[in-house]
Symmetry: C2
Subunit: 415 residues, 2 copies
C-alpha cells in the first residue's frame, strides 16, 4: 500500500474524533503546537538549513530560496499565525437553517467538518503550519504534500507538531505529511476518491493545472489571476494613479496584482503619461496597444499573448479603450475571474461594472490587492478560490466546512 | 469544432444577459415554456412514440420504457413543474454578507448565477424540462446531454421551448441540447474547462462514476445511496415496522430507499419476526447475517458484497448488532453518506447517532425516503448531492448559484 493511501486512511480514522472535539480542545492543541514551534525554533532552522543548502547546490533562484528560508523571526510569525487561528470563531456546529415541515418533521442544516483535506503545495514551509492550523480548527484531518525543496523543514515541523499533539485531545494521526516527494505521490492523492474529500492546490499555475487536469477527487481551484484595472473617463486622476501603482507594484508576484491597465481614451489623452512615468519610475516595463504606443512610443507592443499572460512581475499591459463597454469586453475575454477594478466617479458606470463583471472580487475605487482573507477580515486564508463551486474568492474557515441535514421525526413515513 | 464545444460556447455568450434579467423576465419565460409544452403535447407524444418504438425494437425493459413514456397527464405534470419553479423565490442578487472594514472598504457578498451548467442524464425526458426550468430561474445557461433512448422526445421538447423563448427576454441560445448521443460527446463535456462551470450527472451509478472518474470540469456528484435504518433496543415496535417498510418498499428504485436494516439484538429477539413477515408480504427478499438466519431460517445469507450493494430493488439485508456502536461502525464501513436513520425512544442514543454519522441526511424516527428537495420544502430539486463540496443533500435553487464579492472604496490602496 502506498504511503499516500496508508496515511490518507489513517487521517480518515481520526475524522469522527475531531468532529466530536470542543472548540477549547482544538484551540488547546493549536496553542500547544504554536508553543512547540517556538521552543524548537533552532531545530527547525537547522532542518531548513539542509533544504537551503540542497537548494543552493541545485542552483535554486534567490527568490525561491528566500521563500524557503526560515529564521527566528519567521518562525515567530508562523507560531503567531496559529495563535490567531485560536482567536477565530469555530464555525463547526453552527445551525445554518431550520425547517419545520407541515408533517411535523424538524429539519436542521448543521455545519460540519469537510473531511480529509489534501493540500498540495510548493516551497514555502509556512504553508505546512497554516494548513494544519486551519484544518484542525475546523475539525478536518489533513494530508500534506509539500514540495521536495522544503522536505527537511516540513518533516521537522510536522515531527514537532506531532509531539505537541500527543498531550492534547487531537489525535497525532490527524496530521499526515507525505514524505515521498516524487510526482507519483501527487498522482495518487488526486485519485484517492473515498479517502480524500477535497484537494486544495497552492502554488504556481503548473501545479494547479496538473491538479485540475488529473484529479478525480473534488478540487478547489486556486490561483491564477489576470487582473485588470479600468480607469474610466470620469476617474479622479490622482486616485487612478495611486490605485494603478498599488495594484501593479506593491507586490507584483501575487495573484491579485494587476496585469493589464485599461484606460478610457479621454482619460488617457490627459493623464496616461503621468501614470506611465510613475510606472517607469517603479521599474515597470510597459507593453501597449497601438493607441497607447502613440502616446508612449517607448512602450513595447502588447500582443494578444501578452494580454493572456499572468506576468507576476514588473510588466504591465496598457490598452486604451473607447469606454466602459470595450473595457468589459476585454475583461470578459482575457480575465481569469479573479479580481477586477473600475476607477470612476460615475456611479452608473460603477454599478454597471460591478453587476456585469464575472469575477470573485470586483472593486470600485480600490486596489485589487485587497483580495485576501486577512484584508477581508476573515482572520485567516487557506487560499483564493478561482472557481465558482463551494467557495469563491478568499477562503476563510467556513470554506473548510460542509453541512449535514438532521431530521427529527415522530414516526413519519412518506405517503 | 465539435457540437459540444460550439453549443457550450453559444450558451456561455448568454450568461451576461441572463445575469441581468429581472425575476419577472425569467418567470415570464418559464410560463411561456410551460404553456408551449401544454399546447404542443400532441407533438411531444408523437416524438416520444418514436423513442418508445425504437426502445421496444431494441428490447428495452418495461420499467425503462415506463420511465421514458410521456402522455397527456405526464406532460401536464411537467408543465406544472415549470409553474411551480415560477413561484419559488429567486435567489439571485441576494446579499449574503456585508463587511465594513476599518480602512473604509465596504464589501458585499452577493449571490450570482453559477455559470454554464452541463446536465448529463439518461432516459427520463422530464429531466430536460426540469433542468431548463431550474437553470433559467437561477440565470444559468444550460447544456443538456440526455440519453440516446429519449433523443426524439428531447429534441421536440427543446424545439418547443426554443420557440417559446423567442417571445421572451431569455435568449434562445441559453438552452442547448447536445444531439450527438455517442459517448464521445459526454467525454468532451467532461473536459470542457472554461466553457462549462459545472457538470451535474443524473442517472445510474455507471453514469455517475464515468463522470466522476473522467471530468476535469467541476462536478456535483449525485446519487449512490446505500441507506441504513438502525432499530435501537428502545425503539417503538410499531414505529420501527412502519419506518422500515416505508424506507424499503414505498419506492425501492430510488437512492434514498433502505438497503440494510440494522437491528439491536434485544429488539430483534422480540420483534424481528413481525418485521420480516411484513417485508415478505411486500415481496421483499431478505438476506441476513448468521444471527438473523437463526431467527429467520428462510433468509439467504448476506455477504459482505451484499452489504456493499445498492440494490434499488425488493431486496433487503438484515443484520443483528449488539447495539448502537456496532450499528455506527457498520454504517461507517458500508454507508455512502447519503441518508441514515435511527429508530429509538432513547434520546441519548438519538443524539449520539445524529452527531456521529457522516451523511447528507440523518434521521431520528422518520423514513429515509424524505431526502428530497420537495419533501424538505425547497419546492424543487436538481438532484441529491452525495459529495461534501458546494452542496450536500437535496439541491434546490441556491445549489445552482455562486457568489461574488463587490468591494466599494474611496481610493484605498494596500499598505
Amino acid at each position: 500500500m502506498s504511503e499516500v493511501i496508508q496515511k490518507a486512511k489513517l487521517a480518515g480514522t481520526t475524522a469522527p474524533v475531531l468532529n466530536r472535539l470542543t472548540t477549547k480542545q482544538k484551540n488547546d492543541a493549536l496553542l500547544a503546537a504554536s508553543n512547540a514551534l517556538l521552543a524548537n525554533a533552532d531545530a527547525i532552522i537547522a532542518a531548513n538549513g539542509e533544504d537551503l543548502e540542497r537548494g543552493r547546490n541545485d542552483g535554486t533562484s534567490d527568490s525561491l530560496l528566500d521563500r524557503l528560508k526560515l529564521d527566528q523571526s519567521r518562525i515567530a510569525g508562523i507560531a503567531e499565525g496559529l495563535r490567531q487561528i485560536v482567536e477565530l470563531t469555530d464555525p463547526i456546529g453552527e445551525i445554518l437553517e431550520t425547517i419545520e415541515r407541515p408533517n411535523g418533521l424538524h429539519i436542521q442544516k448543521k455545519r460540519v467538518p469537510l473531511g480529509v483535506i489534501g493540500i498540495i503545495y510548493e516551497a514555502r514551509p509556512n504553508v505546512t503550519v497554516d494548513a494544519i492550523g486551519l484544518c484542525l480548527k475546523t475539525g478536518n484531518p489533513v494530508v500534506l504534500r509539500g514540495g521536495s525543496s522544503a522536505i527537511s523543514s516540513n518533516k521537522k515541523i510536522v515531527e514537532i507538531i506531532h509531539h505537541a499533539l500527543e498531550t492534547t485531545a487531537v489525535p497525532v494521526e490527524a496530521v499526515q505529511l507525505i514524505e515521498d516527494t516524487r510526482r507519483e505521490s501527487v498522482d495518487v492523492m488526486l485519485r484517492a476518491n473515498g479517502l480524500l474529500d477535497v484537494v486544495i492546490p497552492r502554488g504556481g499555475s503548473a501545479l494547479i493545472q496538473n491538479v485540475v487536469q488529473n484529479a478525480t477527487v473534488p478540487v478547489i481551484e486556486t490561483g491564477a489571476g489576470i487582473c485588470h484595472t479600468y480607469v474610466d473617463e470620469s476617474a479622479n486622476a490622482q486616485m487612478a494613479l495611486d490605485i494603478a501603482i498599488n495594484a501593479k507594484v506593491q507586490r507584483p508576484s501575487v495573484c491579485n496584482a494587476m496585469e493589464t491597465l485599461l484606460v478610457d481614451e479621454q482619460f488617457a489623452a490627459n493623464h496616461l503619461l503621468s501614470i506611465a512615468e510613475a510606472m517607469q519610475d517603479a521599474k515597470v516595463e510597459l507593453r501597449g496597444c497601438p493607441e497607447t504606443r502613440k502616446l508612449l512610443p517607448s512602450a513595447k507592443e502588447a500582443t494578444e499573448q501578452d494580454f493572456a499572460t499572468e506576468y507576476n512581475d514588473y510588466i504591465l499591459n496598457v490598452k486604451i479603450v473607447s469606454g466602459l463597454d470595450e473595457a468589459l469586453a476585454h475583461i470578459a475575454q482575457f480575465g481569469t475571474k479573479h479580481s477586477e477594478c473600475i476607477v470612476t466617479e460615475n456611479k452608473e458606470h460603477a454599478e454597471h461594472f460591478l453587476q456585469e463583471v464575472d469575477a470573485a472580487a470586483i472593486y470600485h475605487n480600490a486596489s485589487t490587492r485587497f483580495t485576501d482573507g486577512f484584508e477581508f477580515g476573515f482572520g485567516a486564508e487557506i487560499g483564493i478560490s478561482t472557481q465558482k463551486l463551494h467557495a469563491r474568492g478568499p477562503m476563510g474557515l467556513p470554506a473548510l466546512t460542509s453541512t449535514k441535514y438532521i431530521i427529527q421525526g415522530t414516526g413519519q413515513v412518506r405517503p
